[in-house]
């Protein structure tokens, strides 16, 4: 039970930190775009980053994938926090736990797939820009493809995919264990 309590504390710290970072990010975005002149000169340069006319919207796909992933990750941590609440009450096989674990598993898989897909599109776009710029450099198709694949897949998205599939598997095992418990409780 001690472990569950420590885990709960860690998840609470993680949840609060994520929410704080998210809120700070939104506040900074609003300040940089709409109230740029009131910011200190060091921070005023960030407005250029949010100016879509500089590079075209494709360049913003990777940050967009990170923002979507970040929001969905907060939702996942919220669900896991609730699951730990059930674990604390020794209610391991509640249908609510199964439902939440399944949702977290699906969300993790979605986050990793969205991240890979958007990074893939952004990498193709960036490589086309670089291809136009480097006119005199001989350009191999396979080297380009390898570059796009390497840029699309990172360790975090693979780790999230494994965790997602693992949690989906666990939701099934928990459902099975819940069924066993129900049978056990009903046996006289």
């Amino acid at each position: 039970m001690e472990k569950v309590r420590i885990l709960k504390i860690l998840f609470n710290i993680l949840y609060i930190s994520l929410i704080s970072v998210g809120v700070l990010g939104v506040v900074f975005f609003i300040a940089a775009v709409f109230f740029n002149e009131y910011l200190p000169p060091v921070l005023q340069v960030f407005k250029g980053v949010f100016n879509i006319n500089h590079f075209g919207w494709f360049v913003y796909l990777e940050p967009l994938s990170k923002i979507i992933g970040f929001i969905l990750f907060i939702v996942c941590v919220h669900h896991l926090k609730k699951c730990i609440g059930f674990f604390e009450n020794n209610d391991f096989y509640s249908p609510d736990v199964v439902k939440r674990l399944r949702s977290v598993g699906r969300l993790f898989v979605i986050i990793s797939l969205i991240s890979v897909l958007l990074k893939f599109i952004a990498a193709i776009y960036l490589q086309s820009i670089m291809g136009n710029m480097a006119l005199n450099i001989p350009y191999s198709f396979w080297v380009g493809l390898l570059g796009i694949v390497v840029a699309s897949f990172n360790l975090t998205s693979i780790f999230l995919l494994i965790t997602g599939l693992f949690l989906l598997l666990f939701s099934n095992i928990f459902a099975n264990a819940g069924y066993l418990k129900q049978e056990n409780d009903l046996t006289i």
Binding site: K3, L7, F87, F92, A177, L180, T187
Partner: protein
């Protein structure tokens, strides 16, 4: 079963890629160290000339922790293999979950301790008027709780599984 097979394939790919990286990384490190000790290693406009003890010790410890993570991945593959054999509530699975959890907690604390070690190195930058020697001393402490949280999660899972195993045994014995 489809999810399990997919999980097995992805875990296998990640495991073998990491094994390859664990073999290649020390070789690359030896080459870089050799270059630094002879003519200096040039990267990003800087000519690295000497590495401090802090940087070498922290890199070695990080590599050991990385190997420990690969070992956890190896144990995780074992669990998936047992799941494929439909041995879900087996004693071995419970023991493996417990071990992975224990190792991940230790790795988490290990990463925090390693981040306490200050890193130092020497490098030279060249400019039209000549060159300048630099000495960098960095202190990169970070309190990363992710591995500890995952380790605790695995330990809780081992408890949940041992509970489920007891239920299954009771259920199997009931006529």
């Amino acid at each position: 079963m489809k999810k399990l097979n997919l999980l097995k394939v992805i875990t296998d790919i990640v495991y073998y890629v990491n094994i390859a990286a664990a073999i290649i990384a020390p070789l690359v490190a030896i080459v870089v160290l050799f270059k630094i000790n002879s003519a200096g290693f040039e990267y990003d406009g800087k000519q690295y000339t000497k590495l401090g003890a802090g940087l070498i010790i922290s890199s070695l410890l990080k590599f050991v922790l990385y190997l420990a993570l690969v070992y956890c991945l190896f144990l995780f593959r074992k669990i998936i293999l047992l799941f494929q054999k439909l041995k879900v509530f087996d004693n071995v699975v419970i023991d493996l979950f417990h071990r992975i959890g224990k190792y991940l907690i230790l790795i988490g604390f290990g990463f925090i301790l390693v981040s306490c070690i200050p890193i130092n190195y020497y490098y030279t930058t060249y400019h039209p008027g000549g060159f300048t020697n630099h000495y960098e001393f960095e202190y990169n402490f970070h309190l990363s709780i992710v591995w500890i949280a995952i380790g605790l999660f695995f330990q809780v899972l081992s408890e949940v599984f041992s509970n489920a195993r007891r239920l299954k045994e009771e259920n199997d014995l009931t006529i």
